[in-house]
């Protein structure tokens, strides 16, 4: 795209341009094919679980049965598309009618998918940052709860602040809450070597029960249980459109934070330390880096991201905190980070994919296709991403050349 500029003085690439070029270069073919394969197999599962097909088979109408099965296959993808992107027919009809509400309803599925993607972006970053430091953050879910609790508390208890102070303050509270929750297992790992996988899982349980206790006690909305009071209007994230569109500022904050995380990881000395400790802790120690401190920092940062995911849901979507309000974002985030290869840009793309899938699933459910299909598709996609050899075998792709021969001078595929 920049070939035209080659005669002119070579333009200094700004970081945004580098950010996007890093997303697009590298081996993204495998994830794309993995997603495609997952979708197709998911569709086949829908097809083979369609009762009508077998009824027709039973009546000897094989051709008719196949038609019904294939119909279910295409119907499910149509539903997925209409539910996550929108119904082209409805959109054109609404535009013709000029009715505001109809237009908003027609465009809502697409924007609602972005709303669903937002917490995925934050939570995916929480796992990806820890991955970059060679740690497995299974605790994003717990950190998310603590972030949500902190943001909710600041959201309803602080009164009389203007929005431009209250919103950042509540977000900050969410980030700090998550950071503290992430720091504990990080600190335990750095000081005692206790494995972060076990400790983050345990911290999840503590977070769930703590939130339930708070919502039934100190943070209970009067007369209701277990929910918190509504947050002040000044702590709500700005919504760009009127009802029913819930699309809010959080999506753009998430994109900005993803860019900041990328910048931090690849352009600052602390990010360099974090990645070095992840890539080779012995070399990091040799080079004078403080390995334990870096681990704690990485986990705190990861926790802050998950905390923001919780704060985002409270401040942008729900406006209050309810027990068990998260539908497992913190766990889906692990898959997301894998899919995005732990790169902030990749995480954003993977999160948007997950947002579209989970939003489209609602429409599929309305059509009578079990919502589990979406979970199955997500699982299949992850399996194919995690086992690239399968995808390579299916599509006859060549092995990446990474021989142990010392004479081969293969260039790095980018990333770090």
């Amino acid at each position: 795209m920049t070939e035209n500029n080659s005669q002119v003085e070579k333009p200094k690439k700004n970081s945004v341009a580098i950010f996007f070029s890093e997303i697009t270069k590298g081996s993204w073919l495998i994830p794309v094919l993995a997603i495609f394969t997952g979708l197709v197999i998911g569709g086949l599962i829908v097809m083979f679980t369609t009762e009508g097909m077998y009824t027709s088979f039973g009546e000897g109408e094989v051709w008719e049965g196949l038609k019904i099965g294939f119909g279910a296959f295409t119907d499910s993808f149509e539903a997925l598309f209409k539910g996550s992107v929108g119904d082209p027919a409805k959109i054109s009809a609404a535009l013709k009618s000029g009715d505001d509400l109809a237009i908003r309803r027609a465009f809502n599925p697409f924007l609602e998918s972005l709303v669903a993607a937002t917490p995925y972006i934050f939570a995916g970053l929480a796992v990806a940052i820890a991955f970059k430091c060679s740690m497995f953050n299974i605790g994003a879910e717990g950190q998310l709860y603590i972030g949500a609790i902190a943001a909710t508390f600041v959201g309803y208890s602080v009164e009389g602040l203007p929005g431009y102070i209250h919103v950042p303050l509540a977000l900050l509270a969410g980030a700090v809450g998550g950071a503290l929750w992430g720091m504990v297992p990080g600190w335990l790992k750095a000081k005692t070597g206790a494995h972060e996988v076990i400790n983050t899982i345990m911290m999840n349980y503590v977070a769930y029960r703590l939130s339930e206790y708070l919502l039934r006690g100190p943070m209970m909305r009067e007369g209701y249980s277990p929910v918190s009071p509504f947050i002040q209007d000044s702590a709500k994230l700005f919504r760009f459109f009127k009802d029913p569109i819930r699309f809010h500022l959080g999506f753009f904050i998430a994109l900005g934070v993803a860019w900041l995380v990328w910048w931090f990881l690849f352009r600052t000395k602390w990010g360099f330390e974090l990645r070095t400790v992840g890539a080779n802790p012995k070399a990091a120690r040799y080079a004078g880096m403080n390995v334990p401190l870096t681990m704690v920092m990485a986990m705190a940062l990861a926790g802050a991201m998950a905390g923001l995911a919780g704060a985002n849901e409270v401040m942008g979507v729900n406006y209050f905190l309810a027990a068990a309000f998260s539908s497992g974002y913190g766990f889906d985030a692990i898959a997301l980070a894998l899919l995005g290869k732990s790169h902030p840009g990749g995480v954003v793309l993977a999160a948007i994919l997950f947002g579209f899938l989970s939003n489209g699933a609602i429409k599929m459910q309305v059509m009578g296709i079990p919502v589990d299909i979406i979970t199955i598709i997500q699982a299949l996609v992850i399996i194919f991403v995690a086992a690239p050899a399968i995808v390579r075998t299916i599509y006859r792709l060549k092995e990446p050349e990474q021989g142990d021969e010392p004479l081969v001078l293969a260039a790095s595929p980018g990333g770090d």
């Binding site: 352009r267 600052t268 000395k269 602390w270 360099f272 330390e273 070095t276 890539a279 080779n280 012995k282 070399a283 990091a284 120690r285 040799y286 080079a287 004078g288 880096m289 050349e401 021989g403 021969e405 010392p406 004479l407 081969v408 001078l409 293969a410 260039a411 790095s412 770090d416």
Partner: protein, 509 residues
């Protein structure tokens, strides 16, 4: 003499590399045939083909005139070919007999191991070839030299006629090397044949009946050693003239840079690894710390560089007490450290050369301004170092993991020597490198010394120690048992000291 093994036109290609190119090799019965070449010359590929681990793309193998098909190590063992790998394949808690029986168990009544019969045969083999191995000892109680003989017995037990020894002397003391050479002569006198893989020139001249030199996958020479000297062999191996003896002026020492007094260090298992050690290194001299691997050198260096806290004692660098300093503070005092294990400690293999070359300075100005990395400057500096230190790489963005061992070491040397440093701690700086790279590293060390740095060289290679050192400290079981002037020491004396045998004399320190 009859030819027992014939390789004809062996060719093996890997993606982008011709590892073996039309290689011919003849092994005569009762012969020691040395296979000589730098790292990456194709020695290992060729032997793995012979051993059945790789299949050649072209070429044939003949044994006693018959064409030989080897598709797995089992085929090669059946054809009477056996290999002793550089890293032994022995179970430490098993006895010699049990290790030898592994994979070829003699059974009594089809169910029970017949240890008696096996150990009787091992005793016979041991006597026949004068190996002096007790079949009832456990492997972990045996010294490395004897463990190697157990590996040889394993092959003889399976009636191998051709023995491939892969760099067998790399792990041995000079005395053990002499022992191995005696064993090798016994073997050929009894009609066995040996392929001896090495890159040590002296050993070829000492023991081989015939040698073949590989360079970049091709045979560049094959002859008997009588008419050759080290220099001729080296230039054949490298493809150009090599300076084997480093030219150096006498040491010009003045200030004391490193001073270690009464230092004791414990290892990871809380054993005393360094036991009350005292020494000092002056600027303008190379002090070599000689000794067999595992006598406390690693822990000593870790203590000096701040990677391990000492138990007792003091370390002073440039007259500052650095005993409790962190690695970074030691570096900032002006110490350069070439770590023992370059791949696991000295480099981040998935990183580019740019990042690896900045590993010690990334946090300082000009590479880091208010926490933000100045990547243009890092790249410029990397390109300058690649040029100055002659690092062979496609470009500065290349992953360090894809470079050859010699070039990886050059990256470390470039990074460490480019800083202002007056103390160099070099741990096994040439281990596993080829002749050309060794020559290069030696030259750089001497340069640093001549420029007034104090150099502490930890090495298990006696040739290297004798070539470079102004003074030689010998370490044995955590103690420095003697410090000798470099000019006066000889190999035998050092070998005895390394085995812990001191003459009756007071220890000058």
């Amino acid at each position: 003499m009859e030819t027992i093994l014939e390789l004809r036109g062996i060719t093996k290609r890997f993606p982008g590399v011709l590892a073996n190119d039309q290689i011919d090799l003849d092994l005569k019965k009762g012969q020691i045939h040395a296979l000589l070449g730098e790292n990456g010359a194709g020695k290992s590929t060729l032997m793995n083909i012979l051993y059945g681990l790789y299949q050649p793309d072209e070429g044939e193998i003949f044994s006693g005139g018959k064409k030989l098909e080897v598709y797995s190590p089992i085929d090669s063992i059946n054809a009477g070919i056996g290999m002793v790998h550089q890293h032994f394949m022995l179970v430490p808690v098993f006895t010699v007999t049990e290790n030898v029986m592994l994979g070829d168990e003699d059974l009594r009544g089809g169910l029970f191991l017949d240890r008696e019969k096996a150990s009787q045969r091992i005793r016979e083999i041991s006597e026949q070839y004068n190996l002096e191995v007790d079949p009832d000892m456990e492997i972990r109680d045996l010294p490395v030299g004897i463990q190697q003989r157990v590996e040889i017995i394993k092959l003889l037990y399976r009636e191998a006629d051709v023995l491939i020894l892969d760099e067998p002397t790399a792990v041995l003391t000079p005395q053990e090397v002499d022992g191995l050479f005696r064993v090798m002569r016994n073997l050929i006198n009894k009609g066995k044949s040996i392929i001896f893989i090495t890159h040590k020139l002296k050993e070829v001249l000492a023991i081989a009946d015939h040698f073949t030199v590989l360079r970049r996958g091709k045979v560049v020479g094959s002859a008997t050693p009588e008419t050759f000297d080290e220099k001729a062999l080296a230039s054949m191996m490298v493809g150009r003239d090599v300076l084997l003896d480093v030219e150096r002026k006498p040491a010009d020492t003045h200030d004391q840079v490193l001073n270690v007094s009464n230092l004791s260090v414990i290892d990871d298992r809380s054993q005393l690894a360094v036991d009350n050690v005292s020494f000092s290194v002056q600027s303008g001299e190379i002090l070599a710390l000689a000794g067999v691997q595992g006598n406390g050198q690693t822990e000593l260096v870790e203590a000096l560089t701040g990677l391990r806290s000492p138990l007792e004692g003091n370390i002073e660098i440039n007259d500052l007490d650095s005993t409790d300093y962190t690695p970074r503070k030691v570096t900032e005092l002006g110490a350069a450290h070439i770590p023992e294990d370059r791949q696991s400690d000295g480099l981040v293999l998935p990183y580019s050369l740019i990042d690896n070359l900045a590993l010690q300075t990334y946090y300082q100005s000009p590479f880091s301004e208010r926490g933000v990395l100045q990547q243009d400057l890092m790249k410029e500096s990397a390109e300058r170092l690649i040029e100055n230190f002659d690092i062979r790489t496609p470009n500065a963005e290349t992953r360090v993991g894809s470079l050859s061992g010699g070039n990886q070491q050059k990256v470390i040397v470039a990074r460490e020597f480019d800083r202002d440093c007056n103390l160099v701690i070099a741990s096994q700086p040439t281990r596993g490198l080829d002749v050309g790279s060794i020559e290069y590293i030696h030259k750089r060390l001497i340069e640093k010394r001549d420029a007034g740095a104090a150099v502490l060289l930890v090495s298990t290679e006696l040739d290297e120690v004798l070539q470079l050192a102004d003074r030689i400290a010998v370490m044995y079981r955590g103690k420095i048992i003697d410090i000798l002037p470099g000019g006066e020491a000889n190999k035998e004396q050092l070998g005895l000291l390394m085995a812990g045998i001191t003459q009756e004399k007071t220890q000058p320190i």
